[in-house]
Amino acid sequence: MRSMSAPLRLAFVTPRYGRDIVGGSEAVMGEAARGLAGRGAAVDVLTTCAKSHYSWANEYPAGVVEDAGVTIRRFPTAPIRSPLAAAALERRVQAGAALAPEEELAWVNGRLRVPDLYLHLVTHASDYDAIVLSPYLFWSTLYGAQVAPERAVVMPCLHDEPYAWLPVVRAALSSVAGLWFLSEPEHELAHRVAPSLAPFHRVLGAAVEVPDRYDPDGFRLRHGLERPYVLYAGRREQGKGWQGLLAGFTSALLRHDLPFDLVTVGVGAAEVPDGLAERVVDLGFVDAKELPDAFAGASALLQPSANESFSRTVMEAWLASTPVVATAAGHVVAWHCERSGGGLTYVDDWELAECLAFLAEAPEAAAALADRGRDYVLANYTWERVLDDVESFLAAFVAGRCR
């Protein structure tokens, strides 16, 4: 490992933090924070007491704890002032309606507010060489970035969705001092969203831990999985393509004699229709320690989400030498699939069905694809590699700010 010449003082601002939190941005922030702390940086994580991104209820105790070399400062979320009005604004944003500036701010304040975290930054921003904030559409980022924008590096985790095009988001991407992108497609999107993008930005990517070993047989045994399965790992939500995947899997079963069950792990209600109950297995929340085994035991990982800014599940599947089948509507994942030569993409249910038929009928070719994916992850997305780039980026950022 490279050691830094002078320890950086960093704050990572994220709406949720914890080993049992499921979320891509949260995972990247947590792993980056602990990784940089491991390399000698003084790292504070400024976060909320919330576990659920649905309710934002305070479940962790407020206060300060240490974890893996990182100082975690938790602040309580404030109650949402007007849930009905917030829901109405949310619907308008999702419909792509233009909001007046005060409506935009009302929308930002309609889901999550953490005034105590903001006040901490007001007092302590100058204690940090850089303040990394993520993801883009939460109060903690949009408000937090404005306390000391000259020290702020936003990791937006941008998706091409209605939220991204709000002027308040464009203002944030333009006004902070630095931007950390996870992929080239995200970078390109940011340029479209905010033509005056903060000039100091780089595609740094993210990374995943490489497991020492896998136990796919143990996973199958523990969970009673007797048939081959394809895996969906993630939040079971419309926005992540879960319902569409259920429909597509059903169509595939009708078109081909497939041997697979669909196993799903993650949070959110799976809502499996009765007619599919024998072919869809909902394991719910699975401990992070078991997830590598879930990936290793699968015949493929299915990624139906168009809203991914990195997709760690794709990387984890490839690391486990498991093929990946992803929606072509997700530009970032499609980019990874093409760059790696290791993932298949589908545009509709027909192509999904043929991809699943390929997995069933040509397992050796499928394994060869997965191997290419694994090589790609090991070459590009280990923390060893990414933290080198992050350190040099932050060092240059701080040096540029101090001139």
């Binding site: 030569g341 589908y346 192509e351 069905a353 043929e354």
Partner: protein, 259 residues
């Protein structure tokens, strides 16, 4: 020769509809003028609309002034409903036979099982079979028909349903050592998906529309303009509007007309 083809033709109707369409196409290719009526308004037919019950013989009789020949497929609902009463069946068979007599050439295509309630025999069928060239699907149906005393053996032909064309075998998946493996796999995925999509979308696009149409005002879109093989003017043309009514209502109006 001007030929009227009556029966369901594609997109709905499956293989038998396809067979009737091919028969119509063969007549066209032979230099005839062909006009198609289908009871299913989703069909690619010249005219459509209700052809069940008394409507069919009345419309055929009217059309006989414009057409030399008729090819009639007797299918479920054309002209018989699934559980037609005997007296209605008898009347319809007689009326159909009389209407068909007015054509120079008559071809009757029978599905298997034959969709004539109470069997193909009976005196009511005499006019129906007397001049028709009959096409059946198999030898069993031919034997049944030949039991009818007034049916000439020479005029019953067995034409088995043409089997659906064999689909092209799906392209094979590349092996694990293919150069651009991902590209090669996706190429096969897309080709196979395109083939499935064409078949399913083509059918679904037409079969999504309800039949019969749920909006009566749309029925007019599926009826021919005058002079294009629909009901011709004159006495029988005057009866054509009655033909669109149900049988009972039509009889009721006739009784009222008679006083």
């Amino acid at each position: 020769m001007k030929v009227l083809v009556v029966g369901t033709v594609p997109p709905p109707g499956g293989a038998r509809a396809g067979a009737l369409a091919r028969l119509a196409a063969d007549r066209l290719a032979a230099g005839n003028e062909v006009f198609v009526w289908s009871p299913d308004t989703r069909s690619a037919a010249h005219d459509g609309g209700s052809l069940s019950g008394v409507r069919l013989p009345l419309r055929l009789a009217a059309a006989s002034r414009s057409f030399d020949g008729v090819v009639l497929r007797i299918e479920p609902g054309l002209p018989f409903a699934s559980s037609e009463r005997r007296v209605v069946r008898t009347a319809l068979l007689v009326m159909l036979g009389l209407a068909l007599k007015r054509f120079e050439e008559v071809v009757i295509v029978l599905d298997s099982p034959i969709a004539i309630p109470w069997g193909v025999g009976g005196r009511a069928t005499k006019e129906l079979w007397s001049r028709a060239h009959v096409i059946v699907e198999n030898d069993d149906d031919r034997v049944r028909l030949l039991a009818v005393p007034w049916l000439d053996e020479q005029r019953v032909e067995v034409v088995p349903p043409r089997p659906a064309p064999e689909p092209a075998p799906p392209r094979a998946w590349p092996g694990p050592d293919a150069g651009d493996l991902r590209g090669a796999v996706l190429s096969v995925v897309r080709a196979r998906a395109a083939a499935s999509r064409r078949l399913e979308e083509a059918g679904a696009a037409f079969e999504r529309a309800p039949f019969p149409p749920e909006r009566p005002e749309l029925a007019a879109f599926f009826e021919a303009a005058p002079g294009r093989g629909g009901a011709s003017p004159g006495l029988l043309g005057g009866l054509a509007p009655l033909a669109r009514l149900g049988g009972r209502e039509a009889l009721g109006r006739l009784r009222r007309l008679r006083g």
